[in-house]
């Protein structure tokens, strides 16, 4: 029973930096107990991430996750209220990471289309290696229970990310000021998601997804352009 008790990988390593120590002692180093707790959470998240990727959201049980993390279900529940809570943490970490690399990729884009293409390109390559987890995330995000829990915050980050180049384009006079930016913002998210879904369910390559995005932009931006 010594499966995968090893170190943290990928985005979970950043957890320790992202999570501040207890609120009553913000400037001091975390206590040993707090550190141990963080480590436990990290181990659970790592195991959960792997099982959700392999079996989907419904297919992975708390019991399986506990076994894979080499701990009791009680220990899992001491750290997370339920499976949604656990999944939400994973999704938040993933989203933060994705938005970060997309925003970085956008720097230096020549115009609104170029900025969006840069963002989409880096994101599609990123998700190519994470398709099973992306599939589980989408299933949760669209489920009746998941909407309230994971919907708002994570999706909001993408919305704000796509909003920035749109507002900048209006300021520069590339897009008309009187067009419905909010609606365009929403459609961009839907187009973005549809490309990820194509990658997940139809095996579309990141390159083909990007070409698709380029064609989508020309349709979606058509009514808002300044000629």
């Amino acid at each position: 029973m010594d499966r995968n008790a090893g170190g943290l990988e990928g985005p979970f390593r950043r957890m320790s930096a992202a999570e501040s120590p207890s609120s009553d002692a913000p400037s001091r180093a975390p206590t040993r107990r707090a550190l141990a707790k963080q480590q436990t959470r990290g181990r659970i998240l790592e195991a959960a991430r792997r099982l959700f990727s392999e079996h989907g959201y419904e297919g992975a049980t708390i019991r399986d996750i506990a076994a894979a993390a080499n701990m009791s279900t009680g220990a899992v529940f001491a750290n997370f209220a339920d499976k949604y809570d656990l999944f939400r943490d994973i999704l938040e970490i993933e989203t933060e990471h994705a938005v970060e690399i997309m925003r970085a990729a956008a720097v230096g884009g020549a115009n609104v289309e170029d900025v969006l293409l840069r963002m989409f390109r880096v994101s599609f390559s990123h998700y190519e290696g994470l398709l099973p987890l992306a599939r589980a995330s989408f299933a949760v995000a669209i489920s009746p229970q998941g909407l309230a829990l994971v919907g708002g915050e994570c999706i909001g980050r993408f919305f704000r990310l796509f909003r920035e180049p749109l507002d900048a384009a209006v300021t520069r006079g590339e897009l008309r000021g009187d067009c419905n930016i909010q609606l365009l913002n929403e459609m961009l998210w839907e187009a973005y998601l549809s490309n990820i879904l194509k990658m997940i369910y139809q095996g579309v390559s990141p390159q083909a997804a990007l070409e698709r995005a380029r064609a989508q932009f020309s349709v979606l931006l058509a009514g808002c352009r300044v000629f």
């Binding site: 909407l147 919907g151 609606l183 369910y201």
Partner: protein, 204 residues
């Protein structure tokens, strides 16, 4: 039919009836196979000899409903008048009105079909029927000169479906009614129509 087949079919119907009732009263997630078996008056084993999983029961129930819907949409699509955008709006309005009777059930179905590894999702089959109806509507629009010849109709159809999948979430998240849903979808169709309508000012 042999006596055995008759019995099997009767069990199947009882399981489906029981599941319909439970999915509607306690929801898909809250319903267990054991509850379905109890309500149907059969053993848990009998449920599993008839259906592979709870998910398969749900998918069977929704397919029955969607068959009716797609038949109706096909019929209506051929009789629509007005601009291409208006026709698209009508198709979605009918669709929303139909599925809104069981919003959370339909949403649970969409979610389960997107979850987990494995087989091609049934949702894609269902989607493709709506997809064909929308695609046909756009092709008609092109013959009437309302859809720019340079625009990729397949791409536009995909965008419409992308907007639809996302808009549908509103039902569960905000408890939106059919009218609210249709209004949101109408705006999205408007934006997409701006992209496919021939533009005299951009001809140069």
């Amino acid at each position: 039919l042999s006596a055995r087949q008759v019995r099997k079919e009767a069990t199947r119907q009882r399981v489906l009836d029981a599941a319909r009732g439970l999915f509607e009263s306690v929801g898909y997630e809250g319903t267990t196979v054991r509850m379905i078996a109890r309500a149907a008056g059969v053993s848990v084993g009998s449920v599993f000899t008839t259906f592979k999983s709870k998910r398969e029961v749900l998918s069977h129930i929704l397919h029955e409903r969607l068959d009716g819907l797609h038949g109706e949409l096909n019929h209506v699509a051929s009789q629509l008048r007005g601009s291409t955008a208006d026709r698209l709006r009508s198709i979605f309005a009918i669709h929303f009105a139909y599925v809104s009777h069981h919003p959370s059930l339909f949403l649970a179905y969409v979610a389960t079909t997107f979850d987990g590894p494995g087989e091609k999702s049934e949702e894609q089959r269902q989607d493709s029927r709506l997809w064909k109806i929308l695609h046909g509507c756009l092709e008609d629009g092109r013959t009437r000169g309302e859809v720019c010849p340079h625009v990729d109709i397949t791409l536009v159809t995909d965008l419409l479906l992308a907007a639809y999948v996302w808009t549908y979430r509103l039902v569960a998240r905000e408890d939106a009614d059919v009218d609210a849903l249709s209004q949101v979808m109408d705006r999205h169709i408007g934006l997409i129509a701006d992209g496919f309508t021939p533009r005299p000012d951009a001809a140069a």
